[in-house]
Amino acid sequence: MNSTEQKQKEIVMTEEPINERRTFFLTIARAAGLAALGGLIWSAYVDEVTSNRLILRPPGALPEIDFLKTCIKCGMCVEACPFDTLKLASPGDNKPIGTPYFIPRDIPCYMCEDIPCVPVCPSGALDITKVSTNQKLDINKAEMGVAVVDSKNCIAFWGIQCDACYRACPLMDVAIKLDYSKNERTGKHALIKPVVDSDACTGCGLCERACVTEKASIIVLPREMVLGKSGDHYVKGWDETDEVKLETAKAEITSTKLSEKSVENSLNDSGDLLND
């Protein structure tokens, strides 16, 4: 009896420190596992929700990446908007929660001259300098998006007379111009087609709202989504202002196997061809 009791005690004594160490490592591993799992889900969600680049922001908004880190989601711009254009994204909208956006087909931006939504922003996510010229508010400088015409479904491109978007545009004949051309189908009529000047278009969406087709055939999209970039290689030689590009342009010399030698030598060098 006595000896077995002693043995049991010994076992307990030898096992105890191991147990403690085991529980210690187990807790560490559990904590690390939980943190990894939580962090993964968390950042995956954030990544997913921030990848939506089709969101139209209020006037003066910073570029989307900066906007997302700067907007504190207080909703003051939404409250300032007299037309209820702006909304705060709520869970389920598939947009970064709490950030302001608008859907022009529902309520477009009416381009208030005093731009009430921008000066109220406490965080600078809506930058007042982006919508002012000479320290005076100028809504025409806004770059909320750019209108794009679907020329297959726009009835003006069919030859039916419609200038709804043209007339709705607050910058009529500047942001949307009419392009007259011959209607080749009938041979005697004109096509009066709307054409967007992306330099002037503010992306207010009044055209999208006014469009008469079932689903709007002129829609506003974020500028970064739609506009291309010509880069430094192509310069409008006839445009002095475009030549500014040359000052910042960097020549990039690529070297390949062929360009190591001069052009002539490279062409004359038959290399391994004769051996074959």
Binding site: A31, A35, G38, G39, W42, S43, Y45, V46, D47, V49, T50, I65, D66, L68, K69, T70, I72, K73, C74, G75, M76, V78, E79, K87, L88, S90, P91, G92, D93, P96, I97, G98, P122, S123, G124
Partner: protein, 274 residues
């Protein structure tokens, strides 16, 4: 009835502050009131005094955003109030989720779940890890990480601007607190609570315990959502100095012996002790 109301005066006051803050924000959006405009993330009192969520501002900073003067002053105003005066009072006097978790704790107590599940399987320090993690994710991904998932913002913003699926966040927290973990969200997970625990560590308003009056009924420990802060109950007369105390005053209300009361932090006496 009046007796019950006097007995629970702090609870009633807390609900009144929580609800009236939301109503003021709501009125600002719906009817253009100018008393309290914005939401709990950032707001303006009477169009003059800015307030902003210091934790959100901290996340913005780690994400690499430029902090404007307005936001910085707003965060300082809030930090000053909770840091010097109120302690972690945000959690019990302002935060709308507190109503949800209190309801959950009440139901839990009524159904006797606490007696079945006596030991809590999770550490209360999780919140500090979540806090660190939200700053880390903010830094790496360049966004305000907690603001993207915070049920607190979802709910208060939702009530003011439209809830969407935010209601499910409320339900999840209610059920989590009810079935999974007692005081789970507010007492274990919420990084904002952790943040204000750190901020309010040295604030002036403190609960005071008088040991000679205590009859060891332990009602205070049962009702306290952060009952580890009441470690001195029945042992010694001292102030509750842990930053994790939310100053919700439930312990004062349930105490039938007047052994717990609000007090100002005893700066001089503490120095003498040392």
């Amino acid at each position: 009835m009046i007796k019950i109301m006097i007995k629970n005066k702090y609870l009633i006051l807390r609900r009144l502050t929580q609800i009236s803050i939301i109503v003021l924000y709501f009125g600002a959006n719906a009817w253009g009131w100018n008393i309290l405009v914005g939401n709990l993330s950032s707001s303006l009192i009477a169009g003059i005094i800015p307030m902003s969520d210091p934790f959100a501002v901290l996340q913005m900073f780690t994400a690499g955003a430029i902090i404007t003067v307005d936001l910085f002053i707003g965060a300082l105003v809030v930090l000053f109030f909770y840091g010097i005066v109120g302690g972690r009072a945000f959690c019990s006097w302002v935060c709308p989720i507190n109503i949800v978790t209190d309801a959950s704790a009440y139901v839990r107590n009524k159904f006797g779940f606490n007696k079945i599940q006596k030991k809590q399987p999770a550490s209360r320090n999780i919140r500090y890890w979540v806090l660190i993690m939200s700053l880390a994710i903010s830094f790496i991904m360049g966004i305000t990480a907690f603001e993207f998932i915070s049920p607190i913002s979802m709910v208060h913003r939702g009530i003011i601007f439209g809830l969407g699926f935010g209601f499910s966040a409320v339900m999840i927290i209610f059920l989590f607190d009810l079935f999974v973990l007692k005081n789970g969200w507010c007492g274990h997970v919420c990084p904002l609570g952790g943040f204000y625990s750190l901020v309010g560590k040295y604030s002036l308003i403190r609960i005071n315990h008088e040991e000679e009056k205590c009859t060891l009924c332990m009602k205070c420990k049962d009702v306290c959502p952060e009952n580890q802060v009441l470690h001195m109950i029945g042992k010694s007369s001292e102030q509750v100095l842990s930053g994790e105390c939310t100053n919700c005053a439930r312990c004062i209300e349930v105490c039938d012996d007047d052994a717990l009361n609000f007090s100002l932090r005893d700066l001089i006496a503490r120095k003498k002790e040392k």
